[in-house]
């Protein structure tokens, strides 16, 4: 934009200073004679030039100047702030994240927009469909952030993403028995946890009842049919008791079956000899179990892991690993509709005859799409793509709102870091200015590309 302003201004000054123009100036001069006089042009340009100067040129120049100073603004540090950007590990994470954004988000948005646009051409309810896909554009990014913060909530009762995942998961395998329960541990305890299962520490002799104390059972998963636990009577079989070794209100003896403690019904128990399962039993309502017809000898009694299968809680969307993809997902939700509308407009302008000619020549639909539609659409695709790159470079609000504070460092992007460093607690406006300039330099090539493109279209 500034280029355009400067363009006409420079010759204007020339004109006022030296009256007699030289040869090369001849042609533009003739053109100008048709339009208004230079002074009138200057007067009309002045307000815009002043406003741009105040709000665009001066801030940029001042930011460059400020970026060479320290936090207080008094000590000159040269390029020190820029050095910090490229050496500080948290800044490097920030730059890495921006790179992921720039590479991934624009491609997905443009591709999705293209797919939607091409598909909507062929369906009956195109307008309704387009309206729905475009709808997120009507929501501010901030509100979209709040929505997606909820969507990605870890609790499947709140977050839609995890609700879907857990529902799918539970149709195939659901939680069983006593999730998150564990054996009572300690030196006195006869049992220990072993790779998710519970085993007796010592092999047990047949005829000697085993006690397997379990703790940490949540009130809501305690079966209603559980009876007070009983120690299995000694007999000729391998027998024992699995029970919840905790007296409500305290006072029970650890590792002993107390009066009010309940057995754990439905628990699968295995007798293991030399690594192979010799027998399987299930506990009764009072927690007792008995292996029938087991040959005499010593066995390790094991409660296999299947008893303690924890419920599937879905993914930790807002954790350090998935946070950036999750936020990019929200970004796509917002911008895909915008891309679709632009591309659909371009699609409508494509000459139909070339498509039909290709079809008559025997091209398949894919070939038509690949060889005719996409090349003809490429100017529009490029505009969408470049706009998205600029949008991703300056992404701020989505990251700020969706990422919980504990993963902000892992999801940080340059624009957010710039704000945080200069105002949001860092109070280092020198470093903040340096980041702003860095961002400007990143955006500049794409801006120039867009401006050139518009110019070419003008002429």
């Amino acid at each position: 934009m500034t280029e355009r302003l400067d363009g006409p201004q420079a010759p204007l000054e020339d004109d006022t200073s030296g009256g007699s123009a030289s040869g090369p100036d001849e042609t533009p001069r003739k053109q100008r004679l048709i339009g208004p006089s230079p002074t009138v042009a200057l007067v009309f340009l002045l307000p815009a030039a002043v406003l741009l100067g105040i709000w665009v040129v001066y801030p940029i120049v001042y930011s460059i100047f400020r970026s060479l100073f320290d936090a207080a603004g008094s000590g000159f540090v040269g390029l020190g702030n820029y050095m910090t950007i490229f050496t500080d590990p948290s800044m490097l994470t920030t730059i890495r994240n921006n790179l992921i954004w720039v590479v991934v988000a624009p491609i997905i948005v443009t591709t999705l927009g293209l797919i939607f646009a091409v598909l909507t051409e062929r369906i009956k309810w195109a307008t309704a469909f387009k309206l729905i896909v475009f709808m997120p554009m009507a929501v501010s990014l901030m509100a979209a952030g709040v929505i997606f913060r909820l969507v990605y909530d870890e609790d499947p009762d709140k977050g839609v993403a995890n609700a879907v995942l857990t529902t799918i998961h539970d149709t195939f395998s659901s939680s069983q028995g006593y999730p998150e329960a564990r054996p009572r541990e300690g030196d006195q305890s006869a049992v220990a946890a072993d790779k998710g299962a519970v085993v007796t520490k010592q092999p047990v002799q047949v005829g000697q009842p085993v006690l397997i104390p379990i703790v940490g059972i949540k009130p809501q998963i305690m079966p209603s049919d559980a009876q007070p636990a009983k120690a299995a009577p000694p007999g000729n079989d391998l027998s024992g008791t699995v029970w919840f070794d905790f007296t409500a209100g305290g006072g029970g003896k650890n590792g002993a079956v107390d009066a009010s403690e309940k057995g754990l019904p439905g628990m699968t128990v295995e007798a293991v000899k030399d690594g192979t399962v010799a027998g399987t039993a299930t506990t009764a309502d009072d927690g007792t179990f008995r292996f029938d017809g087991l040959p005499a000898g010593s066995y390790v009694v094991r409660l296999p892991q299947s008893n303690f299968q924890a419920a599937y809680h879905g993914l930790t969307w807002l954790g350090p690993t998935l946070i950036t993809p999750a936020i990019i997902g929200a970004f796509i939700w917002v911008w895909a509709g915008f891309a679709m509308v632009l591309i659909a407009a371009g699609l409508a302008a494509i000459p139909r005859d070339s498509l039909e000619a290709a079809r008559i020549d025997g091209a398949t639909e894919w070939q038509v799409f690949r060889r005719i539609t996409v090349p003809l659409l490429s100017p529009v695709l490029l505009v969408v793509f470049v706009t998205m790159i600029i949008n991703t470079l300056k992404v701020f609000d989505l990251v700020f709102i969706i990422a919980p504070p504990s993963v902000q460092p892992q999801s940080n992007v340059v624009a957010l870091e710039m704000w945080r460093v200069s105002f949001g607690g860092g109070n280092n406006q020198g470093l903040g200015s340096a980041l702003a300039i860095f961002l400007l330099i990143l955006v500049l090539p794409f801006m120039i590309m867009n401006i050139r493109r518009f110019r070419r279209e003008d002429t």
């Binding site: 870890e154 059972i217 209100g249 949001g424």
Partner: protein, 440 residues
């Protein structure tokens, strides 16, 4: 345009004249009765003041009542501006732009030092300093000072050495409120065995983790080391820090101790973790300050019956009392600003505020009898009786890049530590790195 300017000049003159005219009347009573300088009627008639603080909702309403009492007394018009969560981010640009509010309530004394360095604060007048001397212990006066000059008054305190618990969970497990760290760990094990997660951590709110660390550190390392670490005079790689982190790992390191596991806890922000204890009844304890009471009440728990607290147990030799609080400073040279600071520092102003819920006063002359409920009364009593042994929240004394910014400094490292509580050494060296950056 000309007219408007003339009017502005006239108005300015009028204010100046009014200020001059009032000068004798304000100084006279100050000389005779130091406690209440503004007794001589509505001395600030027509003066407009802007006060900026981070309070919203109920807290804002209560504070506005105090401001109204000041207006009624002096005739000044006081407007309240909310700074939002991040006071620094709000005030920074306004200071840069040359139009700060008359009075700002800073949530961290660290900001007092920072703004004093930028020459953004006005030193307190003698009347206000006198008021502070009569009503506060020297430790609090020092907190509001920078380079030997007094700039701020601590007007509101928060008691951060508490652990809140759901009494039903303790009854079910048959445990009593612990009095030392080992008892706390043992009680936690028993509660976990009973099938309830003992702790609901507010990992997404970094300041709750620094509060936990400060209590354990003050208790294990003692007040002298606490003061040194606050000023970064000893490094974070000091063995005393390791001791404190290991103690924290004892309660944060066991899977069954932490509600929803460490990744769930790290996504839980402050009021939500309270709801998980008192609203959803999923956990037994939440380690945070007196203001938990507000959220617990909203979650339907009756404070004192369902929701109880015990003092933070001794993890070493010292019984920790860590306070947080808000410091009021003047950012413009105006008689109104100083009068308001004096009012807020006075016994009179403190007692008006104390009668409203959700307020604790660090003013030693504000009698605990003013508080509306027995719980606050007891808390107020502990602050007054602890006297000089009390310490201020360490992270709030640090530069805000270290102790008060999401995703940076101590907040970030302690969150990472909650994720992997085994890595004490790594956490220490990262803390030291961050501290070096912030203190340079």
């Amino acid at each position: 345009m000309q007219k408007a300017r003339a009017a502005a000049v006239l108005a300015g003159l009028a204010v100046a004249v009014a200020a001059c005219g009032n000068a004798p009347t304000t100084t006279q009573p100050a000389a005779s009765g130091s406690a209440s300088a503004t007794t001589a009627g509505k001395t600030l008639q027509g003066v407009k003041l802007e006060v900026a603080a981070k309070w919203t909702g109920e807290e804002q309403k209560n504070f506005e009542q105090v401001l109204k009492a000041f207006s009624d007394k002096t005739g000044a018009t006081v407007t309240y501006a909310s700074t939002g969560e991040d006071t620094g981010a709000y005030l920074g640009p306004r200071i840069q732009g040359g139009s700060p509010p008359d009075v700002a309530i800073l949530p961290q004394p660290g900001l007092v030092q920072q703004y004093a360095k930028q020459n953004a604060l006005k030193p307190l007048t003698d009347e206000v300093t006198k008021e502070i001397d009569t009503n506060y212990t020297p430790y609090w006066k020092e907190l509001g000072s920078a380079d030997g000059k007094s700039y701020g008054v601590l007007i509101k305190a928060a008691h951060k050495s508490l652990i809140w618990y759901r009494s039903q969970a303790f009854d079910d497990a048959g445990v009593q409120a612990p009095t030392n760290w080992d008892e706390l760990v043992k009680a936690s094990q028993t509660i976990a065995d009973s099938g309830t997660a003992p702790f609901s951590f507010c990992g997404a709110s970094g300041w709750t983790l620094t509060d936990l660390f400060e209590n354990v550190y003050l208790s294990t390392a003692g007040p002298e080391n606490y003061d040194k670490l606050s000023k970064h005079e000893i490094p974070w790689t000091d063995p005393s820090v390791a001791t404190a982190l290991e103690k924290i790992a004892q309660i944060a390191g066991k899977k069954e101790f932490v509600l929803d596991g460490s990744s769930g806890a790290l996504q839980t922000d402050f009021p939500t973790c309270v709801t998980k204890v008192f609203g959803q009844k999923k956990a037994a304890m939440v380690i945070e300050a007196d203001f938990v009471a507000t959220q617990a009440t909203q979650d339907g728990a009756k404070v004192g019956e369902e929701a109880k607290y015990f003092p933070f147990p001794k993890a070493g030799d010292t019984a920790p009392v860590v306070l947080g609080g808000d410091v009021a400073v003047a950012m413009k040279d105006s008689p109104g600003a100083m009068a308001l600071l004096q009012f807020l520092a006075s016994k009179e102003g403190g007692e008006i505020w104390a009668k409203l819920p959700g307020y604790l006063s660090p003013n030693k002359n504000v009698s605990p009898d003013n508080y509306p409920d027995p719980l606050t009364k007891a808390l107020g009593q502990t602050i007054i009786s602890a006297g000089d042994a009390v310490r201020y929240d360490m992270s709030d004394l640090a530069p805000s890049a270290f102790g008060g910014t999401d995703g940076k400094g101590e907040w970030k490292v302690l969150q990472d530590f909650l994720r992997t509580p085994t890595d004490v050494k790594g956490a220490q060296s990262k803390l030291e790195d961050e501290a070096k950056k912030a203190w340079k």
